[in-house]
Point group: C2
Chain length 138, copies 2
DNA sequence: GTCAATAATGCACTTCCGTTGCACTAACTA
DNA sequence: TAGTTAGTGCAACGGAAGTGCATTATTGAC
């Protein structure tokens, strides 16, 4: 088991107290979080710092940004098996219309999508909306 | 061929000059447009009016809103065959990373997506990103 | 260890889009 | 034609993303 420090260092991310905290926060959450979520969890931290930390994490591929259609960017840690760079490896996201939470369904890969001639597919964003397992009472 | 007036009336939308113009504009565009697109096309019109007109059109199911991941809502006329209400009839959208335009691929239906037990799927948003036919030089 | 270079952080501020409240005007109905 | 209802225009708000700059922390060379 790698320590958080090791994870950051292996991705060429300078280790700071702030980044350790943010990483820890993301790791403990099972759902994708917004900038505002993190902001309210760390009352003492600046929005800008959080914002830029997430951008850094995203660039270094330890976090992926999720657009679930709410208009607000959410972020989630990439799992061990998550290779966000590779199209075929993209998983889908589920957005609950009840609790408003978004989760990664990493085991559910996106089926190959055919596009018409002349179109070149580089990336696919697939969000399923509905009621999550917690809210459906199961 | 129905006139625009007839289309609006059949959907219980009161006919006004503004609405006719906006409908015409949407009909002429092959791509999804933003509020700002329409605003700059009709310099004399108010943003609010356009905004509310689109909302009305959307409620009455003659326009559907598209979230292509740019963070800006886009709108497109529903085609004859487009039954936005019915999940199975949802088509996918293609967003060009080059020209930044989004088109409806109405002939491409979204495949049935399986979700884990306990999750209830109500809606699916599928956006393919890449290079469109115009930009790929074909 | 000290110091310079580089990166991270904090603060203030801006911009963009979506949205709402309210007054005014146009369209329909009796 | 009067009165009700719906549409439009103006002003303003709010949330989220993003930027510039000064300050602070971290790193690496000496």
């Amino acid at each position: 088991m790698q320590t958080i420090e090791e994870v950051l260092e292996s991705k060429d991310i300078r280790v700071t107290a702030m980044r350790l905290l943010i990483y820890k926060f993301l790791a403990e959450k099972e759902v994708a979080v917004t900038l505002t979520d993190i902001e309210s969890a760390f009352a003492k931290a600046e929005r800008t710092t959080l914002y830029r930390t997430l951008k850094t994490f995203e660039e270094k591929k330890i976090v992926h940004q999720i657009d679930d259609g709410t208009g607000i960017s959410k972020y989630a840690l990439c799992e061990k098996g998550c290779n966000c760079e590779i199209e075929q490896d993209l998983h889908l996201h589920f957005h609950c219309n009840n609790c408003n939470e978004t989760v990664c369904l990493t085991e559910h890969k996106i089926p190959q999508i055919k596009v018409p001639d002349g179109f070149v597919s580089e990336n696919v964003n697939l969000v399923v909306k509905g009621i999550c397992d917690k809210c459906s009472g199961q």
